[in-house]
Structures are given as C-alpha cells and as structure tokens.
C-alpha cells in the first residue's frame, strides 16, 4: 500500500488541506520529508493518516469541526489508485470517492492484519511510540517482538492452531485419557460382541443341541410305549366290570315279554289312524244338524216377499224425470228477475237517443258510427290545438324581430356609424397598430435596458476602482495592456533568489556571530590557563628563547658585564619559562589546543564574513535588476520597492481583467437602447396611420395609452354594425315561419268538413262544430253495447218457458202408467212417483239374496252325507280285525302291541351293549363268560392298573417336555439375520475406529512434523532479523557498536548491544540517543522482515531524531532511504538542517513544506 495523497478536509485546524506525495518513481527511493515549524500540524497529519486507515478515533482533533470531521486520501493498493473518505461515524465510516460506503476490509486487507496500536508502535513512530514500541520489542511483545524472539509475524498464531489440532487428536486418544472416542469404540465393540454371543449359535453348540434332542426323543418314545401297554390292560378290566350290570337287565326284559307273545300283529299305522276316526265321527254329526236348521229358515223368508211389477217397469225413466224437475224449479225462480232487467235496458237506450236528438229514429242501429270515422274525427280534433298555438307564436316572434332591428339601427346611428361595412384600409391600420403595440409592450416589459444599465454601471465602477489601485501609475487600459511586463518565471526567479540569499545571509550572519563568541571564549580560556599556571604560550616561549639567543649573540661579540648580565637575565627567564612549561605539561597542551581552536575559528569566521559579504552584494545586484525592470515599464514605477513589483503586476492583471469584463457589458447597453428607440418609433407611426396624432418622442406609457384608446373605439363600432346585420337576418327568418303556419290551418279545415260529410253527422244543414262533434261522440259511445244487451235478455226468457212445459208433460204420462190420479202441481206428483219406484226396487233386492243363500246350504248338506258313509266303512274294518265292539276296545289292543315291540328292542340293545363292552361278537358266549366272573376280584385288578397308568403318564409328560425343549432349542437357532446384523454393526464400528485412528495419526504426525518445521523456520528468521537489526544499528551508531546479540538470561532472551571497543550493554544502559537509535534500527529491520512476506505499508516517523547528532542523523537517513526502496517512507520534522541532510543523503527525496494554519504547498 502507498499513500498518494492525504486530504485533511475537515480535521483539527485544517479545512481543505491536502498533501500530495505524487507517484512512486521507478528505481528511486520513495522518501518524503515533510518540513514545517511547530504548530504547522505535523502530528495532526500523522493522526489523520491513522484515522483514515482505522477510523476517526478521538475527539482530540474535533475542536473545529465536531461531527463533520473528515479525512480522505488516495491509496495505491495492488497497483491501483483508490480514493477513500473517512467520516466520524460509528459504522459505515469509510466511503469511496463517490461517497458510497465501503467495508473497512478494503483497507484492512492491505495492512496484513496489523491493528492500529501495532501500526503505531511498529511503523508510525514518534518519540513516544518509538520508545514504547522499542521496549515492547526488547521484551518480546508485539508483532515485531515475536518476530525477533519467537516467530515471524505470519506464523505467530500458528502455535495456537497447532495446539488446537493436538486437542482435536486428543479427543480420539490420549494417554491415560478415559473419555476418548477410541475408548467408546472399544466399549461398543465389546458390547456388540457380547450381544452376538448371546443370540448366536456356533457350530459346536449346534451339534450339542442336536444330540440332546435325539436323546430326549428316544427316552420319550420308550415311556410312551410302556404307558400304552398298561392302558390296554386297564381298559380290559374296566370293560368286564361294566358288562356285569348289563347281564341283569337282559334277563328282566325277557321275563316281561312272555305274556304279550299271543297278540296278532296289526298294521302299525292303525295306532295313528284310530284317534282320527273317533274325532271325525263326532264332528260330522254336529255339522249335519246345523245345516238342516238353516235351510228351513231361508225357505220361510222367500215366501214373505211380493214384487210391484208396474213400478219396476218405469224405473228406467226416473233419471230424465229428475233432470226436467230441476230445470222447472230454476225457471220458476229466474223468469221474473229477467223481465225487470229488460225494462231497464229499454229505458237506457231511450235516454241516449234523446240526448243526440234522435228519439224518433226508426233504425236505431244506424246511429252507431263506424270506428274509422270516429278515429279520423278524433285525430283532427287533436291536431287542432297545436295548429292554433303555432300560428299565434309565429305572429308574436315576427313582431319581436321587427322591434329589435329598429333598436340596433338607432344605436349605430347614435354611435356615429352607418350600417355600411368598414373599409380595408381602416382594418389594415388597426392590425398595424396592434402589432406595434405588442412589440412596444414586449420591449418595455423585458427590462433589458434597465438591467444592461445596471450591469454597465457595476462593471464601470469595478474598473475605475481597480485602475485607482495602480498608483502612482495612471493611464488608459489600452496603454496598460500594451506594456511589456517581465514574465512570471522571471519574477519567480527573483523571488526565489532573494529568498535563498536571505537564508544565506541569515546563516552566515549567525555563523559569524557564533564564531566570534567562540573566539572570545577561547581567547579568554587561553588567558586564564596562562595566568593560573604561569605557563606561557608557544609564542611567548619563542620570544623568550629569541631574546636569550639575541642576548647571547650580543654578549659573544662584546663579552662585557652588561651583556653578560643581560644574557644571564634572558637565560634565567627562558629557563624559568622552560621549567614552568615542563612542570605544567597538561596546561601547556590545553593552552596549545585553545590556541589551535582559536586559529581555526578565526579562519572560519573570516570565511563566513566573506560569504556574508558575497551574499549581500548579490542581493543588492538583484534588487537593482528588479528596479531596472520596473523602470522599463514606466518611469513612475522606478521608485517602486523591489518586493512590490510582483504585487503591482498582479493588480495590473486585475485591472485588465475588469476592463475585459466591462467591454461586453457596454455593448449590450448600446444594443438595448437601440431596440427601445426602434419600438417607440414604430408605434407612433402606426397611431398616425390609424388617425391618432402621436409623437415618437412622447415615451412608452403615453404611446401605449393612445394606442389602447384608438383600438377600443374601433372595436366598439364593429360590434354595433354586427348587431344591425344580425337583426335584419332574424326578421327575414321570422316572416317565413309565419306564412308556413297559416297554410297549415287552411288544410285542417278542409279535412274536417270531409270527415263529417261521410256519416249521418253531415245530414244537418251546416257542418257541425268541433265541440258539438266531441259531445255527440261521447254520448253515442254507450249506444251500441246497450242495444246488444237488451236482445240477449229476451232470448234467455223464452228458453226457460220451454223447460217448464216439458216437465209437466212427462209427469202426467208416468202417473197414467202407474194408475195415479193427475194433479195440478206436477212437482208434487213427480215426488210421489219417485217414492213408489224406489220402494219396489228395495223389495226385489232382498228376495234375490235369500234365494242365493238357500242354494248354497243345500249343496253343503249333500257333501256331509257322503263323508258319513265313508267313515262307517273304516270303523267296521278295525272292529272286525280284533272282534271288538267299539273303537275304544280296538285302542286297548293296539297299546299292548306297542309295549311288546318296545321290550324286544330293549333286549336286542342290551345284548349288543354286552358284546361291545366286552369287545366280543357272540352274545351267547359273552353271557356265559360273564356268569363266571367275580366282581370283587375285578375291582382290585382295575385299581392296580389305574395307579400304574397314572404313574407312567406323568413320566411321559415330563419326558415330552424335555424333548420339546431340546427341539425348541435346536429350532431357536433359526435362520434369522440377527447375528449377521450385529456382526455388520461391529464391522462398521471397527471401520469407524480404524478411520478415527488414521485421522488421529494424520493429525499427530502432521502436527509433529509442522512443529519441527516451525522451530526450524523460527531459527532461520530470528537470525535474519537480528542480523538486519545489527547491521542497521552499527550503521546508525557509525560503527560505535559492532553488532547486536540475543543472549539468554534466566528464562528469556534479551538483546544486548556489543560496542566496538568490547564488552556489552543492555538497552537500559545506553544513552537516550543511542537507545533511540537502537529502537529505530529494530524498526528498520522489522520493516524489511515485514515486506518479505507482505505488501509494504507506508513507514511514518515524526521527528524522532531530536536526540541524534548530525552524523548519526545522516546515517539514519541513509537507512530510511534504503527502506524507501522497499516501501514509502515519510519523515516529518521542523528542523531545516534535517531536510538538508536528507537531501544530501538521498537527492531524490521529496520535501514538502507545511506552514502553520495554511494550506500545505508541495515542492516550494
């Protein structure tokens, strides 16, 4: 991952700040130095970077923006540039360039699992984290610590995972473990084995079962045989005992048979026949008696009934009589009522005739009118009212139309117009006026002129103001535009040069100052040393020695006392000085050193003064150059200060800009004025054409009002003319309608006269009027039905008279046949006749019934007589056979015969039973054998046999049970699959166990091998990181320390630094600066280790070299530059000299300057 750009959109004191790191350059170190003074926001920048990666963490930087905090940036991930924005929000705080939320993993995936703290402690360093993280490393904590002492970062968690794998293996088997799956499997196997053994039968066991069954069977069979023999003997004894009572019974039956032997054998059926004969005899006698009595009774009844022949003869006509009688009675009631109704009908007819004035009419039916005639008359009557109304309406409308036309004509005249149509010229003038008015109104309403004027005034004001800022220069915009101004690059160049020179002057002046101070201090030091020790400097010593040598030379040439004394004195001084120098060798050396340093400072001071002088003159040169350039522009500008020229040029650009803006605004204003003038002129001429005098100069409002008035007047006249034309047109139409209605009325009158003339209505002198005809039609509506009703009544009265007479005739005829006297009232006579005929009918029915019953009884008697004769014959047959007197005697004989047959049967049965009981064929032999037997002996024998049998039977049952069990045991083996099923289960468990065992071995062997590999891996990697760190530390310390070593102290390893001079130092014992250098060395090597296995992440450090001297800082930058070839390295500092060192060590390093609270600018 690489940071391309960091946006501090709203973060801390930043609003819209941004640092652009640019693209990585192939083959060059990606080292960035961010320089800025205190408070420029370096620390904020680092915090913002971490917040972008991990989310906005604290509210420390929220003082300005509170909840709207936002950082953003462009990250290069996997060769692609990704825009991200981070806002302050509990979730979904990471957005992409389009403000869409993206998951944090988009960034996190690139960080190789490093969390914020890890990043801060490893690769985002400030004094604090450098030290804290360094301690962590030394105490083998944190990712790098583990890397150094235990494993590479990538494998740190692997030990845990191996532990888990081992634990998984342990679930299958563990030494001395009880609850393992292996133990469970073994248990299952044992259970299944036991289960199988329980239900299964093996071959050997089967053979045993078979043998047991055979033996039990043999024993059982033998016992059954013995029991059978005993049973036979027992049965024999029991038979004989049972036969003894049978013999006694046989003999008793024989004795009973003796007296019955002489009876003859009658047919067996007689026993049943005899009781029936006796019963039939009694029944026949009773029935014959009842029959005779009944015959006598019937003969008496027939004799008592005589028949009425005359009445029976006329019975056939009684129905006709009854019908006529009913009609006679009805006529008697209806005739008087019908006569009354007839009189009423005549009166009604007469009333109608009188109403229409035709009471004397001979042919009444003629007066009833035909339906078609009535219809025609009624239709004409209906039309009449419509025709009359329409005619009246038409006359009224005609009158109204005439009045309206007169009114419209009057108004037109009053308005000063005439009915003639307006001229074409007048219309064209009006149209032109309307057009001109519309245009003028548009122009007025658009307000173009007003707004153009406003814009022009504003632009003009802006131009004037900016022009004023160019003082002391004044002139026109055109002259300003024509000026040959120096190029931007030139101005920038002057500026840069001035800045450089200013810096140089600052530096050299500072140096001169420092050196002067140093020189004074050194001089004072030398003086102090000389004074305190009496030692003189080499120069003073040289002076003494020269004085001595000089004195000697003078003494040699003169060899006198004064020279000798002078020489002696010089010699003494010299000796004293030599002696002092010898006795204060230390102070002397110090004095010498002070002198040397003083000389060196003097030289440096001199050089610095020279350089300062050079810079000053260069500055004067450039200032002069700028002044000259300004003077070339305009003489008045020659006075302008060097630094202000750039500002003046900027203001010139502003003036030119305002001038350029003014020009189009001015053009627009002119156009708007022109347009307005044209519209006013056009409207004025249109008004003139329309007959209204108006001046184009009058102004829009006046012109528009005049136009409105002219247009309104013309419109009003037009409307009135239209109304007169419309009135004339309407009058013509009304007249046509009135004529049509008059014609319709004449046609109706003709039709009416024709209709009346077609019937008796026309017989009057004049055609009757419409109302008269309507009254006649209403009156004669009832005449037709009344005439028809009266004729019907007459017909019904005549019919009734005929029925009454027919009835009287029939009654008279029938009375004659019965010999009855005739009477006046045929109804009473008829009743008598009917009664007589009914009586005769009843007598005849009763007599016929009695004759039928008599015939039935006589035939019954004949049948009974026959039966009695047959019965007498049967009775005789039985009494004759036995020579008996009566049927009762016969019955006694038959009973005796039955007893004999019964005894014979019993005898045969008893003999048969004896044979069966003894099991013999011959009964005689059996009787003889039984006679010889002794009952008591037999009983004893039977009891003995019985006991033996029961004993043997019990044994049999026991043996059978044993046999059955043996057979069942054998049978129980069965062919079922239970054993095989269990075996299959057992096999499956075994397979599971084997599978588990293999899995266990894979896990165990696999983890054992991996552990070995892991140990080897750690060894290799620790040494590589340590080597790296050693080298880095040696580099930073400029060889003061030869290397780092991991040494084992008690339980843990610690890191010690080995100085080149020998010995060893733990980190705690190093000076702060050196310790920080050690920490940085560890980070550098850690970073190298990190990027070996993962994509690089930016390495950021915030002024961690405060405690480094320049030389070590230089070495540190060398290491950072090297790192920057592996990944992006960003170093923030407020020390300009560190920027210089970095630039020197790594010329391709990019330096970015931050200014307090100002948007950072890149690459100044």
């Amino acid at each position: 991952m690489r940071l391309r750009r960091l946006d501090l959109t709203r973060y801390g004191m930043f609003s819209g700040g941004s640092v652009d790191f640019g693209e990585a350059r192939e083959g060059l170190a990606d080292l960035h130095i961010i320089h800025g003074p205190n408070e420029a926001g370096k620390t904020t920048l680092v915090a913002a970077y971490l917040d972008l990666l991990y989310g906005i963490e604290t509210t420390k930087y929220a003082f300005l923006h509170q909840n709207t905090m936002q950082v953003g940036g462009a990250l290069e991930i996997g060769g692609r540039l990704n825009e991200f924005i981070r806002i302050r929000q509990s979730s979904g705080s990471l957005l992409d360039g389009q403000n869409r939320p993206v998951p944090d993993i988009a960034i996190r995936a690139e960080l190789g699992g490093i969390e914020r703290d890890g990043y801060r402690n490893m690769f985002s360093l400030d004094d604090d984290s450098l030290e804290k993280g360094g301690d962590e490393i030394l105490n083998s904590r944190g990712d790098l610590g583990k890397l150094l002492f235990s494993a590479s970062t990538g494998l740190a968690e692997l030990s845990d995972q191996l532990g888990k794998i081992r634990a998984e293996a342990d679930t299958f088997y563990k030494f001395h473990g009880r609850q393992t799956r292996l133990a469970q499997f073994k248990d299952d196997l044992a259970k299944l084995k036991a289960e199988r053994e329980r239900i299964d039968t093996q071959a050997a066991r089967f053979a045993e079962l078979k043998a047991a069954r055979s033996e039990a069977e043999d024993r059982y069979r033998a016992a059954v045989e013995a029991r059978g023999k005993t049973q036979v003997e027992l049965r024999n004894a029991e038979r004989r005992l049972a036969a003894l009572p049978l013999l006694a019974r046989l003999r008793s039956i024989r004795a009973q048979l003796v007296p019955l032997e002489s009876l003859p054998d009658a047919p067996e059926a007689w026993a049943e026949e005899l009781p029936r004969l006796i019963q039939d005899d009694l029944r026949l006698e009773g029935r014959l008696e009842i029959c005779a009595a009944r015959i006598r009774e019937l003969e008496d009844a027939i004799a008592g009934r005589t028949l009425d022949a005359a009445a029976l003869a006329i019975a056939g006509r009684m129905e006709t009589l009854s019908l006529l009688r009913a009609r006679h009675i009805a006529a008697e009631e209806d005739i008087p009522r019908l006569d009354g109704e007839d009189t009423d009908a005549e009166a009604k007819i007469m009333a109608i005739l009188t109403a229409i004035g035709r009471s004397g009419e001979a042919d009444r039916n003629r007066l009833v009118l035909e339906a078609s005639t009535v219809g025609t008359l009624r239709a004409l009557m209906e039309q009449r009212s419509g025709i009359v109304t329409a005619l009246a309406t038409a006359a009224d409308e005609l009158e109204e139309a005439e009045a309206a036309l007169a009114d419209a004509s009057d108004r037109l005249r009053e308005a000063g117009g005439n009915a003639a149509a307006p001229s074409a010229e007048g219309e064209a003038a009006l149209a032109a006026l309307l057009g001109a008015q519309a245009i003028a109104r548009n122009v007025e309403q658009s307000g173009r002129l007003r707004s153009a004027k406003r814009l022009w005034e504003a632009a003009r004001e802006a131009f004037a103001v900016s022009l004023g800022e160019l003082k002391p220069w004044d002139g026109t915009a055109e002259s300003l535009e024509g000026m040959a101004v120096p190029g931007k690059d030139t101005v920038e160049g002057w500026k840069r040069d001035l800045e450089d020179i200013r810096k140089k002057i600052d530096r050299h002046a500072g140096e001169v100052e420092t050196l002067t101070t140093d020189m004074r201090r050194l001089a004072a030091d030398g003086k102090t040393i000389s004074q305190s020790s009496g030692v003189i400097g080499d120069a003073a010593a040289g002076t003494l020695r020269a004085a001595r040598d000089d004195a000697w030379a003078r003494h040699r040439s003169s060899l006198d006392e004064p020279t000798a004394e002078a020489f002696e004195s010089a010699l003494r001084r010299d000796d004293a000085a030599v002696a002092a120098r010898l006795s204060h060798a230390g102070e002397l050396a110090e004095l010498r050193q002070t002198a040397r340093e003083l000389a060196s400072r003097e030289a440096q001071s001199q050089r610095a003064a020279e350089l300062l002088q050079e810079a000053e003159s260069r500055r004067v040169e450039i200032v002069g150059e700028i002044a000259a350039a300004a003077g070339r522009l305009d003489s008045r500008l020659a006075e302008i200060a060097a630094g202000q020229l750039e500002a003046w040029l900027a203001r010139r650009d502003k003036v030119l800009d305002a001038w350029r803006k003014l020009r189009p605004v001015e053009a627009e204003l002119n156009e708007a004025r022109q347009e307005s003038r044209q519209a006013a002129a056009r409207l004025a001429s249109a008004l003139a054409a329309a007959g209204t005098a108006a001046s184009a100069e009058a102004g829009f409002p006046e012109l528009l009002a005049a136009a409105d008035l002219a247009i309104a007047l013309e419109t009003r006249l037009g409307q009135l003319r239209d109304r007169v034309a419309a009135g004339q047109n309407d009058l013509r139409q009304r007249k046509r309608a009135h004529d049509k209605r008059l014609a319709e009325e004449a046609a109706w009158t003709r039709s009416w006269e024709a209709a009346c003339g077609g019937c008796w209505l026309g017989e009057a002198a004049a055609t009757p009027a419409l109302d008269a005809v309507r009254a006649i039609l209403e009156a004669i509506a009832e005449l037709g039905p009344a005439l028809a009703g009266k004729a019907g009544l007459r017909r019904r009265i005549d019919g009734m008279e005929r029925d009454r007479k027919a009835h009287g005739d029939l009654v008279a005829a029938l009375a004659g046949e019965l010999g009855l006297a005739t009477a006046d009232d045929p109804l009473a006579l008829g009743g008598l006749i009917a009664e007589r005929v009914s009586e005769a009918g009843l007598v005849k029915t009763l007599r016929d019934e009695a004759e039928r019953d008599l015939a039935k009884e006589q035939s019954q008697k004949r049948l009974l007589d026959g039966e009695q004769q047959a019965l007498a014959k049967a009775k005789a047959k039985m009494t004759d056979f036995f020579g008996a007197a009566s049927l009762e005697e016969v019955a006694a004989r038959l009973n005796a015969l039955a007893t004999r047959r019964e005894l014979a049967g019993q005898l045969a049965g008893a003999r048969e039973e004896i044979c069966r009981t003894l099991g013999v064929q011959d009964a005689g032999q059996a009787e003889a054998g039984l006679d010889a037997l002794d009952q008591a002996g037999l009983d004893l024998e039977r009891d003995a046999l019985d006991r033996r049998f029961h004993e043997e039977d019990l044994a049999c049952q026991e043996l059978h049970t044993a046999f059955r069990k043996a057979a069942e045991a054998l049978e129980a083996v069965g062919g079922d699959s239970q054993a095989a099923e269990i075996e299959e289960k057992r096999r499956t468990v075994l397979l599971e166990l084997e599978d588990g065992a293999r899995h266990y071995l894979r896990l165990r062997l696999g983890s054992a091998a991996t552990e070995l590999a892991l140990a080897s891996y750690r060894e290799q990697h620790r040494s590589s990181m340590l080597e790296n760190a050693s080298e880095a530390f040696s580099t930073i310390s400029r060889g003061a320390y030869a290397r780092l070593e991991a040494q084992r102290r008690k339980e843990k390893e610690i890191l010690v630094a080995i100085p080149s001079a020998g010995g060893s130092k733990e980190a705690d014992h190093l000076s702060k600066g050196t310790r920080f250098q050690l920490y940085l060395a560890l980070r550098v090597s850690g970073y190298r280790e990190f990027v070996r296995s993962r994509p690089p992440v930016p390495f950021v450090s915030d002024d961690i070299m405060e405690t480094f001297d320049d030389f070590r800082a230089e070495q540190a930058f060398r290491l950072l530059a090297e790192m920057a070839r592996l990944g992006q390295v960003i170093y923030l500092t407020h020390h300009p000299h560190l920027c210089a060192i970095a630039g020197k060590v790594c010329p391709e390093a990019r330096i970015h300057h931050l200014r307090p609270s100002v948007v950072p600018a890149s690459g100044c």
């Binding site: 299964d200 069965g974 095989a980 084997e994 894979r1002 054992a1008 091998a1009």
Partner: protein, 428 residues
Amino acid sequence: MEGQIAAYRFVHTADVHLDSPLRSLALRNTELAELIGNATRKAFERTINLCLDEGVDALLLAGDLYDGEQTSMKTARFLAEQLRKLGEAGIATFIVRGNHDAMSKITRELTFPDSVRVFGGRPEAVPAARRSGGFPVVVHGLSFAQPAAPESLVGKFREPESGAVNIGLMHSSVGGSPRHDRYAPCSLAELHDSGFQYWALGHIHKRWEEKGRATVVMPGIPQGRDINEAGPKSVSLVAIGDDGSAEIEERVVSIAQFERVSVNAEGIGDWTALVGEVGQALRRARESAGSDHLVARIEIRGASPLAWKIRRDLDAVKEEAEIWASRVGNCWIEKVETDCRPPPAEGRVSGDPIGELTGLLNEQVLTSPAFKAEADGIIRELQAVLPPEARKLLGDDETSIEAAIALLAEEGAADVVARLQSVRGGGA
C-alpha cells in the same frame, strides 16, 4: 426355441459369502444400514427368486458360500431354508466347496434337503434330473477338502460322458501361478481341453467369461462388500443347448453397489462450482449403476486453487455431497478423499511463511531421523491401545507399514498446512 430340444437352464453363481458384513463407513448412517444391511443375504434371496421365477433346472454354487471364519449356524440354517424352497419347486442345487467352505465348521453340521448335491473331496459325476425331458446332462464336481489346494484340480475330474452335455463345477484361481497360488490354480487351456461344455467356476470376485471349446464363466461375487469390490455385480443365467452352446445372461442381484466417484477439480476456483461438479459426478455414477443403492467414495483430484480449502473442509464437502446424494436418490456417500494440490503458480510464493514452512516440511522434516523417531513413538503408543482386530491398521509387513506411515505423515502435514493456511486467511 419351439421345435428344438429344450435347453438345460441353470443359474450359476459363486463366492456368495453369506452373512459376510459390508465394510463401509457409509453404514454409520442407520437409515442406510437398515436399507442395505445384510446385503449378501438379500442378494442370495434374489438369486433364489430368480431361479424360481425363471423356472430353471438347477442352481450351481461354485464355492465360498460363507466366509471361512463364519461360525454362526444361523447362516447355515438360512442357506438350508433357501435351498429347500428350490427343492420344493423341483430345482436341483449343485455345490462345490471352496477354500472358505473347507475352513468352515458349520458346513459339517448342516443338513441340506434332498434336492441339494454337495460334491465331496473325490471327483463325482452326477446325471442331472431334467424337468421337461431332453438330452442328458452330467454335472461334475470336486470340492476343496482343505483350505488350500496348491495343484490344479482339472486333471482329477472324471472323464466327460459321451453323448451328454458335461458341466464342470470348480472353485479355482484360473491363470494363477502354480507355485504361489494356493487356490487350485489352473490354465484356461486345461479347461478348454477337458472335453466339458461348460465350466462353472468360482473364487475370483470379478466377473469374466470366455467362450472357446468350452464356455468358461467366472461369475464374480454377487454382492460387493466394500469399495475394493466396486462395480456392478451379478449372477449368470445360463441356457445350454444339446450341441453344448451356451447362452449367458448377466442378472444383477446386488442390493448395493460400491463405486469410486472421481471429481476433477482441476482449475475450479469457486466452491459452488466444485459442489456442482460433485453433484454431477454423483448423478452420472447413479445413472450408470445397476443396483438399488449406490455407495460412493468421492475422490477429488487435480490442481485447484481450492485445494487447501477442500482439504481443510472435507467434512463440508461430504455434507454437500450428501445433500446431492439425497437429491439424486438411492445414493449414499461413504467417504470423501482428496489429493488436490494448489496450482503450481500459487503453490509457493517466495517470502510466504506458509510456503516456506511447507518447503521445510517436505524437504527437511518428513525425511529427518528426528521426525521418524517421533512418529515411531506416536504409532507405538496408539497400537498398544488398539483392539486386536485393528492391530493391522497400517498393514501386515514392515514395508507396507512404513509406506503407510510415510503417507499418513505426508497427508497429515498437508492437513495441518491447510488449516494454518486458513488461519492466515489464505487458502482461497
């Protein structure tokens, strides 16, 4: 066949291994155990029903009716009961004993119905009863008297009877080396030279047949018992004409069929796609399987970016496969295995700690004496606590045990690396 003399029809099978349990982890599934448990019995019942449905003349059983160590009389009783059904239907049964039967104790105790003819250790030739008349048929048989028969039995058979169709019933490893094979090795030439028309053989569990002067049929095991007896299994329904020509139909009687289902993960980088591939492979395997149930062992092969994940989540693959299997129907998963590797490009990135670790494992650790000593200790400890039946877990002899350990270590290391890979969020 109208107008011709009725052919002699029989069912020929061998190596029934009655009640020999199925050996599959798939039976851990109790539902499946219910469905295909006792498969050897069920297959035998189907064979008997085939005889009855087809109304054949005889059933020929060429040895190894049960496993040698089989001692349950329930098995024998079941066999007798089944053969009794054939006897009642007038179908004869001819049996020779194989090496397993010779070992078996139950053979001696069992009483077969009269319709069954068991050939003894001396050669015999028995005229076959014909239900519908026809040409004479003689069945020759010779049983294993001992569990081993190092010499060919063919020469000991009686001479073929002239004018009859001669059928030889023999348990033999045809083509085996006479010096090393203990199961009556013989050559095909011997069989063709015998003058017999049909050789009903047994012993080899994989089916084959050869028609020459004699028709030689090795029917194979009728019900495979584990993945090593994979593939379709059947019995032979044979009709021999009076001219000795044989028509052979293979009839599937197996309840369950074991199959290795290979899934090529080559280049598959997406888990869903991999699962889909597994499903398709299962569907194809099911479609081509003849038995009621298919018990599949899935083997995922090939170089795939998913290699680590497959290895680590083999359980998940198995679960997915089981879902597919239930969707396919009558299909069951015994086990899922993989030897997938990551594609070469992803195998080892320089500087990648796992890659480096893997390199160390394969190049240094696994072959190092230190590791071998540790492995030895681990294995010894486990073997001491395994039940006796499982002692041969890693093999019978030194060489195979050593190879097994090496393989376990290699696979185990790969498993562990796969998991470590996942810790680092890697491994696809």
